[in-house]
């Protein structure tokens, strides 16, 4: 089947097998290897991307279901060489060790803050419970998300998620994660 998806601001038209998962399409056909696969039961969240502004586990979406969609991956977050506030917060708070879970964590955290711009610690923990990390014990991830919420607060207009969506809409400005 032929599908059209816009990923991190660039539009791709490809032939895909009906059973192809979105995550494999992103990684293998489009080369977005920043998004990774950690399980086969939709439990780990490593593959989380934004599909039309909502976080989804891209291992539980078929590529054909994404036909016509706008997708943002971790590679499309930074703009003009400037990290997205959540990427920056993950770095500043040592919220990653091996970094394998990090793309999914960051994408899910953006979604979490879009839904709840002022979460407390428990709300962050609940918002991330579908994303597993084996390295960090989560404490610094939680701290990073709370920190990012702070950073995003003074400027109420663009929340993390809308910023990401804007990035998707303006491909010319994409740098950093783009290859």
């Amino acid at each position: 089947m032929r599908i059209t998806v816009t990923v991190d601001g660039t539009t791709y038209r490809d032939e895909v097998a009906p059973r192809q998962l979105l995550v494999h399409h992103l990684r293998e056909a489009i080369g977005k290897t920043g998004t990774v696969v950690g399980c086969d039961t939709s439990n780990c969240g490593a593959c989380t991307v934004h599909l039309d502004g909502q976080s989804v586990k891209s291992c539980s979406v078929l590529a054909v279901q994404a036909d016509g969609a706008e997708i943002t991956t971790v590679e499309g977050l930074a703009r003009d060489g400037v990290l997205h506030p959540l990427q920056q917060a993950f770095h500043d708070n040592h919220a990653l060790q091996c970094g394998f879970c990090t793309p999914g964590m960051i994408m899910q955290s953006i979604d979490l803050l879009a839904d709840n711009p002022d979460p407390d610690e428990q709300a962050v923990r609940h918002g991330l419970k579908g994303n597993l990390c084996r390295c960090t014990g989560y404490q610094n991830i939680v701290r990073a998300v709370l920190d990012a919420a702070q950073r995003l607060r003074p400027d109420p207009a663009p929340t993390g998620a809308t910023e990401a969506t804007e990035a998707t809409a303006t491909p010319g400005e994409l740098v950093g994660g783009e290859r």
Binding site: R19, R27, K32, T33, G34, T35, V36, V37, G38, C39, D40, T41, S42, N43, C44, G45, A46, S55, V56, K57, T73, V74, E75, L77, A78, L83, Q87, F90, H91, D92, H94, L96, Q97, C98, G99, F100, C101, T102, P103, V124, R125, H126, L128, K129, G130, N131, L132, C133, R134, C135, T136, G137, Y138, Q139, N140, I141, V142, G176, G177, R179
Partner: protein, 811 residues
């Protein structure tokens, strides 16, 4: 060039490796591809123990996209036997360990055939076309039953399930008294049997290997902790000459011991790629990983602690059964032995005996998992100390203090003959009690107990030490380990003033690039940003013994420091020549050689440029500052700490909630406090997971029933508490940096702290043990007087609490 002003060592630097990782600019093995790449899929045995009577692969060979199919018999001449580098005793018995089973399978999940196809999906599809006939044999699952007289045997040609029996006895070794005498004379005896359940390392990045045989050297990319060991072992196992192999560990996700292995899949990928002359790749699925990658722990511990009524410990006897699983992998038999010297922990036992029987079963092989041997030992002794305190009606911390090595008694030679160089258990404990609010929580506990509250509070203590910095080569030799414990490093001074550091340590999330840069920046007086750390490729980093056992900083960074010393020595000679003075007149600080008592100076990077030009060097001086060093430690290092855990146990449901977790670790000098804290957090998560959530369960047919993340319960963010961490700092005296290692500390210490707390919460119901993981079912059963021992309730798949809800944890 700018000299660094503030010292880098000790600074909370955000990591340089993050830039790639937070933007998805990563090089995981599974991301890599080469032209003409073929994909592998493995057919795995669904049964735990059987003769293979026939394998028919003809239909699979004809399946779409399939290039070749191999069985164990097809590659029997090339695959060799998977290596075990640690024959713990001279009379250890072990079966041949083919990567693809040839005529018998010995655990469910063992690979029996491999399909090579143009696409990954096509390779997997073709697996269904392979027809295998199995003639089932009796399974061997229970450790005690496995060593009984009439037991069914896993490997009939060995005639026994006992692989080895390893003993340390302080009376025989001359390092202490006779434990039997101590037991005979004891005023108090605490006798317990504890079970270390089987765990799965469950690293997040699945294993992956890509082999490209088309170059002059065959290149192997692998998600491994041990690129250097892997290169040697692949050469020895398959006969491909070592110099014709290049192993690269690109970005590698956390391994926790799980990637300290020479895997069947790596061997098969090499053999198949070589045979076909084409590049091949294999990446495991999560289910494949949980099923067939090595497991950890799985011991039965029979323990006897002897003491006087006044609380003084007088002897400790340890009798272990350790489950090897079906085969001996790289260091399988040595894992329980690594615990042998740690059961006595921080206490002054006068007599000690450790015996371990390594046992084969028809289960997935076990091997290193974070802590490897030391968590088991620490769990046993810290649980016993709480039991002794309960028996004597003493405060568990005060009882520990009565028996531990005092800070003014270091260096202290233990009953095992190890010399603990430094430590201050009093300081760490005092700080932990203060942060914890120990007295207040004890008061609340009494109050709730008096009130008969349905939610009871329990307080658990763990005052641990561990031996890390593996390891002095001669000690490894005395333990029959197949290699040394040194590490290698090199420093290259580039003409532009930048510095390349080559390290044999192989980082996979630890932050070596940042920490090594900090150390070198201080030592050579160059900016942090000007240091590049190269690792994980046997071509750029040709020599090393890799990363495990909390060894990277204590051994690997020490090698870096030694290489730096050589660079400075070489540069000093040239600097003296440049400034026409004697070498002794030069002072080196902040990256500059200064002629003592003058303003005259030159920077080390200027010397590097002068050496590059080589126009005017002293006679006989080579035009290079580059230096290498191989460092072999004299002793282990001994981090320690005090962990305190408060849990609330709902006595009506058995649900355990961690109310407060405080740990004060002493890991010696700290290079980067942020990285150290992160290591502690991650370690705590895994130790707590053993106490409360995780267990690899096999059913009565030997099938793993916890083979997905829906069943094997890795804790999520909601399952773990906030940790209050702090440090005391007693420098190690066994290495120049004063560092001790931190990778395993949290895991080792936390498990007994949590279980002690759970037992403490319900001890007044007559409970003195609850088997791990302490699931609501097990806790409730214990409170209500039911069985809590091995095989009791809660042993079902998904027995832990976890966060998995009816949606399976999906969004």
């Amino acid at each position: 060039m700018t000299a660094t002003i503030e010292p880098e060592v000790g600074r909370a630097r955000p990591r340089k490796e993050d830039a790639r990782l937070v933007t998805g600019r990563t090089r995981w093995t599974d991301n890599l591809t080469v032209p003409g790449l073929l994909h592998l899929a493995f057919l795995r045995s669904p049964v735990a123990h059987a003769k293979i009577t026939s394998i028919d692969v003809e239909a699979a060979r004809r399946a779409p996209g399939v290039v070749a199919v191999f069985t164990g018999r097809d590659i029997a001449d090339a695959q060799g036997s998977l290596p075990c580098a640690w024959p713990v005793t001279a009379d250890q018995v072990a079966p041949a360990a083919p990567s693809l089973a040839v005529d018998q399978v010995n655990f469910a999940g063992e690979a029996v055939a491999v399909v090579v196809a143009r696409g990954k999906a096509e390779a997997h599809d073709a697996l269904e076309a392979i027809d295998v006939d199995y003639d089932e044999l009796p399974v061997v699952l229970d450790l005690r039953a496995a060593i009984a007289e009439d037991a069914d045997v896993v490997h009939p040609d060995l005639g026994t399930n006992r692989s080895a029996h390893w003993v340390f006895d302080s009376a025989e070794a001359g390092t202490g008294g006779d434990v039997e005498q101590a037991i005979a004379e004891a005023e108090v005896l605490i006798e317990r049997t504890y079970r270390q359940q089987r765990l799965i390392p469950a690293f997040m990045e699945p294993r992956s290997v890509l082999v490209d045989p088309t170059g002059e050297q065959t290149t192997v990319w692998s998600a491994t902790q041990i690129p250097h060991i892997l290169r040697l072992m692949l050469a020895l196992t398959t006969g491909v000459p070592e110099h014709k192999l290049r192993v690269i560990a690109p970005d590698v996700g956390g391994g926790f011991g799980g990637k300290l292995q020479v895997t069947p899949e790596e061997v098969v990928a090499l053999v198949v790629a070589t045979r076909l002359g084409k590049p091949v790749k294999w990446t495991e699925s999560r289910s494949e990983s949980l099923l067939s990658a090595h497991h950890g722990r799985d011991q039965l511990q029979r323990l006897t602690l002897a003491a006087r009524r006044d609380g003084t410990v007088t002897g400790l006897k340890v009798d272990l059964l350790a489950d090897m699983g079906a085969y001996l992998r790289l260091v399988t038999p040595g894992v329980p032995i690594l615990g042998a010297f740690m059961f006595n922990a921080i206490y002054k036992f006068p007599a000690y005996r450790f015996a371990c029987t390594n046992v084969f079963t028809t289960k997935t092989p076990t091997d290193a998992y974070r802590g490897a041997g030391r968590p088991e030992a620490t769990f046993a002794i810290e649980r016993l100390m709480d039991e002794l305190a309960a028996e004597l009606g003493r405060d568990p911390i005060e009882l520990r203090e009565q028996n531990w090595i005092k800070h003014d008694e270091f260096p202290f030679t233990t009953v095992c003959g190890l010399e603990y160089d430094s430590g201050n258990y009093e300081a760490a404990t005092a700080r932990a009690k203060e942060l914890f609010g120990y007295d207040e929580l004890r008061a609340e506990q009494r109050e709730r107990r008096d009130r008969g509250d349905s939610v009871q509070l329990g307080i658990g203590t763990s005052t641990f030490t561990e031996m890390c910095g593996l390891a002095p080569s001669r000690v490894l030799g005395s333990l029959s380990y197949g290699a040394g414990g040194w590490e290698h490093a090199a420093i290259r001074m580039l003409p532009s003033g930048k510095v390349e550091v080559v390290t044999g340590s192989s980082a996979h999330g630890q932050g070596h690039e940042t920490a090594w840069s900090q150390i070198v920046a201080d030592q050579l007086g160059v900016p942090f940003e000007d240091v590049e750390v190269l690792h994980g490729d046997t071509q750029s980093s040709p020599k090393g013994l890799d990363t495990y056992g909390s060894r990277s900083l204590t051994v690997g960074a020490m090698a870096v420091l030694k290489a730096g010393e050589k660079v400075i020595r070489k540069a000093r000679r040239v600097a003296a020549h440049m400034m026409e003075c004697a070498e002794d007149d030069l002072e080196f600080t902040g990256g500059r050689f200064t002629v003592r008592g003058t303003e005259r100076s030159t920077g080390i990077t200027e010397v590097a440029l002068a050496v590059f030009a080589a126009h005017d060097l002293p006679d006989g001086v080579e035009p290079s500052l580059d230096s290498a060093a191989t460092f072999d430690p004299d002793n282990f290092s001994f981090p320690h700490g005090t962990h305190l855990c408060a849990v609330e146990v709902d006595t009506e449901t058995g649900f355990v909630k961690i109310r407060k977790y405080v740990c004060v670790d002493d890991v010696g000098v700290v290079v980067n406090p942020v990285i150290v804290e992160g290591q502690v957090h991650g370690g705590l998560a895994q130790g707590i997971a053993q106490a409360l959530y995780e267990e690899a369960v096999h059913d009565e047919s030997g099938t793993l029933t916890t083979g997905t993340f829906a069943d094997y319960l890795l804790p999520s963010a909601v399952d773990l508490p906030h940790f209050d961490t702090d440090r005391t700092e007693t420098p190690s005296t066994t290495n120049q940096l004063g560092v001790k290692g931190v990778g395993e500390a949290g895991t080792i210490a936390s498990t007994p702290a949590v279980v002690n707390a759970v037992v403490d919460a319900v001890r007044h119901f007559g409970v003195d043990d609850i088997q791990m993981p302490c699931t609501p079912m097990r806790v409730w059963t214990a409170i209500n007087g039911g069985p809590t021992d091995a095989g009791g309730p809660g042993g079902e798949a998904g027995g832990g609490l976890g966060s998995i809800d009816s949606t399976g944890g999906a969004l």
